[in-house]
Symmetry: C2
Subunit: 584 residues, 2 copies
């Protein structure tokens, strides 16, 4: 299996059999847009639903759906209007525009180097290295920043700016308060959004990897920063993580350090338990999609590589030949950055109130007015004096007595004899705080891509997409052995039965049976049911396995239950083989 061309082969199958292809081809194509075809749409949804099962349903988390077009104010608050931009240069001669950092990377710099450069430094480096327009060889104008959000206006007023969202997370932050209330004010809480995101890349490349529009899976996990412990950490603490550490990266070392979740936490390498928990879940999620553990790694972000909201971040990457390590998810500790900013910009209190299990009693200094001395001296103004004293800071009063011998309360001069400063016990029932946020964030198209890539097999010169059984877009193909009317009728009848049972079924009667098996293998159909002459005699069919090409014979009656168990993972093909009549 020539490793170097798997990408080409997968891209070829994807286009030819309808998983995905570049959009708008009839108009010459527009870079950065991908059409997900019929098989890809089901596979992508199956992957997303698997995510939902693992990260939402089983954890008791919530999912919401907000708009792709978002009022400008939201991205001012979030910091995107300020930070979500890339350095761009324009050729003086042909006026073409390029990502300046990409040009420098092509000239030999690493992304770690270009990431921390300002415009001035970029300009100097371009001059120093003599970088010219790759299209016409022209010189560049001075670099400037390009905002990589799609900009539009909402409604008929031109000043009502709106942006295409570059992440689904902000929809969660702006709607957080109401979700929190509808969920009866529980913390911690995970809120997910899966939907289209838009990034107006300057010059997208790499086909399905760098897209202007893609599906993002953002999980925002809100927790009390005073209680950052993960209640489920036990479930994952022995999981091994393959890490590329920031401290090593700084010294130019990209080796993988393998350690357990527990170790990484104990050594302070991962700074939050929930962050580690989600990383372990993400690793296993990818394994279940068919990506081997040893083709995955988590690479820690350096300070200047992190998004503006993140205090620690790891990218989960998958190794693909030719492309190298490709990011499929990001795991960031966003702290209270976003909610704080939205509080500031909206003026709405987004803090949550948490009642203590029992009140906390604290000792507090209190200024007690002594009416026996105040009364006689301040007479009918005594009430006003008492009111002012109730607002006075006890420490301030003590200091004034110490330094000046009196305390000035409004117009009144208060002497030590007028008050007594005592310590009193006070009950505090709870506190208000802004929750902190851990964010695992995935790209659906990249998950789709790496899943297809790692499902690719060749057997006897034939291609098999060995997709995990629970996410295969078509579950079963029904074939009449030959296109004879009685066999076709019988096969169609089985096809309809399996449809009624809720399976994703395909019926095909064209070409030779060998060709139909090959076609089914190429799109990853786990099971093929074939109706032959024996079927007409004894109501049995053959069931063929995509990966081993082995077959057994089963009565039509028993087929739905056997298939149901198989697709729920309650039995394997091997087990079915041992139960039914194997065909050699």
């Amino acid at each position: 299996m020539p490793q170097q061309s798997i990408i080409d082969k997968v891209n070829d199958i994807a286009k030819r059999r309808g998983f995905f292809w570049p959009s708008y081809e009839i108009y010459g194509g527009v870079a950065g847009f991908l059409t997900i075809g019929p098989l890809g749409t089901i596979l992508k949804r199956n992957i997303e639903n698997k995510f939902r099962d693992t990260f939402i349903r089983r954890l008791g988390f919530l999912e919401i759906e907000t708009s792709v077009i978002v009022p400008g104010k939201v991205f001012e608050a979030s910091g995107h209007v300020e930070h979500f931009k890339e350095p761009m240069v324009e050729c003086k001669k042909c006026t073409r525009k390029f990502r300046a950092d990409h040009l420098l990377q092509e000239a030999g710099l690493t992304d770690t180097e270009t990431e921390k450069m300002g415009l001035k430094e970029i300009e100097e480096t371009i001059r120093k290295l003599g970088v010219r327009c790759p299209e016409c060889g022209g010189e560049f104008r001075e670099p400037r920043y390009f905002l990589t959000m799609f900009e539009t206006t909402i409604g008929p007023y031109s000043k009502n700016l709106g942006y295409g969202r570059p992440e689904a997370a902000q929809g969660i932050f702006t709607e957080y308060k109401r979700v929190y209330e509808a969920a009866r004010e529980k913390l911690p809480i995970g809120i997910v959004q899966i939907g289209h995101a838009l990034r107006n890349e300057i010059s997208p490349r790499q086909g399905p990897i760098r897209l202007r529009e893609f599906t993002i899976i953002d999980l925002e996990f809100f927790f009390d920063p005073a209680n950052p412990k993960c209640s489920r950490i036990k479930e994952v603490e022995d999981e091994l993580l393959r890490l590329v550490l920031a401290e090593n990266k700084l010294r130019g070392i990209f080796d993988i350090t393998e350690m357990t979740v527990k170790e990484a936490l104990n050594k302070g390498i991962i700074k939050n338990e929930w962050l580690a928990f989600f990383m372990a879940l993400a690793k296993n999620f990818l394994i279940e999609l068919g990506i081997p553990d040893d083709k995955q790694r988590f690479i820690e972000k350096l300070e200047w590589e992190r998004a503006h909201y993140s205090v620690q971040g790891f990218d989960q990457e998958v190794y693909l030949d030719r492309l190298g390590w490709v990011e499929v998810s990001g795991h960031n500790y966003r702290t209270d950055y976003d909610l704080k900013r939205h509080m500031l910009y909206s003026g709405v209190d987004l803090r949550v109130y948490k009642e203590f299990s029992e009140p906390i009693y604290v000792e507090e200094k209190v200024v007690k007015p002594l009416m026996s001395t105040i009364g006689p001296q301040f007479k009918n103004l005594s009430g006003e004096v008492v009111r002012l004293l109730s607002k006075a800071d006890p420490d301030e009063v003590e200091r004034a007595f110490r330094e000046k011998g009196y305390y000035q309360a409004g117009e009144f001069r208060i002497l030590p004899e007028h008050v007594k400063i005592v310590k009193e016990k006070k009950a505090i029932k709870g506190r208000k705080f802004i929750p902190h946020v851990i964010e695992p964030s995935f790209g659906s198209e990249r998950l789709l891509y790496v899943t297809l890539y790692y499902s690719y097999r060749v057997k006897d010169n034939r291609t098999i997409l060995s997709l995990p059984v629970d996410i295969a877009p078509i579950q079963v193909a029904v074939f009449p052995l030959v296109a004879r009317k009685d066999l076709k009728d019988k096969a169609l009848q089985i096809y309809r039965t399996l449809l009624d049972e809720g399976f994703m079924v395909e019926y095909d009667e064209s070409a030779s049976i060998g060709r139909r098996y090959a076609r089914a293998d190429e799109i990853g159909v786990p099971l093929a049911v074939t109706v032959d002459h024996k079927t007409l005699e004894d109501d049995t069919v053959t069931v063929r396995d995509r990966d081993s090409w082995r077959q057994f014979r089963i009565s039509i009656e028993k087929l739905p239950v056997a298939m149901s168990k198989y697709f729920k993972g309650k039995t394997s093909f091997e087990e079915l083989m041992s139960q039914f009549k194997v065909i050699e």
Copy 2:
């Protein structure tokens, strides 16, 4: 049950319990954007998945996913840049902007009347009726058209216009060729896209009904116009449709005419069998969502009410108190309009080739050169003469002989003696044509809304959302009778078992059991499982029905299978009651 306030009650539950609410409330709200909350997101997806099951999986149709941001050229080709606009007026005094036709409707005109008005007529009518700014009473400037698509630019070049798609259909048309090829060139074929659509409304109102961003479900059904018969029409021909006919509307009559699909087709009222087929399916789909047949109707569009691409159209409407008839789907015969336009604008041939089952033989006139006379006369130029004659139109040659006695082929004068005009048989193996399109198109949020509306019940002063069992967002709630540790542990254990079995489960131990039942009823949870003291003795639990509040007792062991059958519709609560121990 006071009918007039169901909408308010549903909106209240939707907001409080997390089905949906207006977006960006912390920023004062932005009209036309809706947040789908945690319960709404599941319910909406369940509705969409039900659609997929009925309209895609069972019909063998295909689904694809394309981008929300679309290059400008696509909507120039589709006619949207030209047609997708609304008349707008601006107040001279306060500069506020309004939909001109809506103002006229508020002044008493019908939408049938305003729909066909041009700008001139609108201006005159505003003047005649003395319509003023509803905000400040100011006069209006002359009306103009506002393009109701969100406009943006793709990439860093300002001339690369892009639009937010107002329909998902165009993604299907632009990608049609590749989908058709991947599906091995079968016709008819249905291609679906479910995704966000954007309409930059001038001043959206009506809360969740008229949105600037919503989820559209577009099904484009492609068929051979020479074979417009629906192969499945038998399945629906006796279905009754409630129609409001265009011919009646023209006479101001909005009465509902009830007739079967067969009748409507025979009388030529519905002009295409597939159009009728999808309308019948749409009716039944809504019935399965809980919307009674007699609260639905199909209203035929008048010529000037139809979209620019449609030759016949029906809107499926649902009756809601206060709002009246609300459109939930549109059914249009788009003909070959869209593919034809994209052929014209892209220069790519989008026709399909269909081979006849056997070749058709036609008689054709052919001009046969007679070499015995041509040779001697034209000598070494004979070859050129023969070439020119092979391109000549036989009728043209005959006419020339008749009228002038000769035919001029380039520089050569051809006389009747030089040729023989004969009839020859020719085999035609197939033909090329542009498929025609029938389009059923639904709005997800409206389906969600009418589903919630018709699920609303009041029983003993308590609210029940009597959602169809197969789309309820939470399937089962697990409660310990009281919050005692042993009961809680047992209940949590059952909760985890049901999670493992794949159910949507909620666990709740707060407040009284009565209050928890009420909460579960209010969000439409079909079953509640309660762990009580008896559970600890004999491992049985009670199962309570949301709608009847009746209960039976079942062993924990048998619970998953019983629930599985119940949610698959293979058994009813009544049947379970007869099988297990009823609690009186």
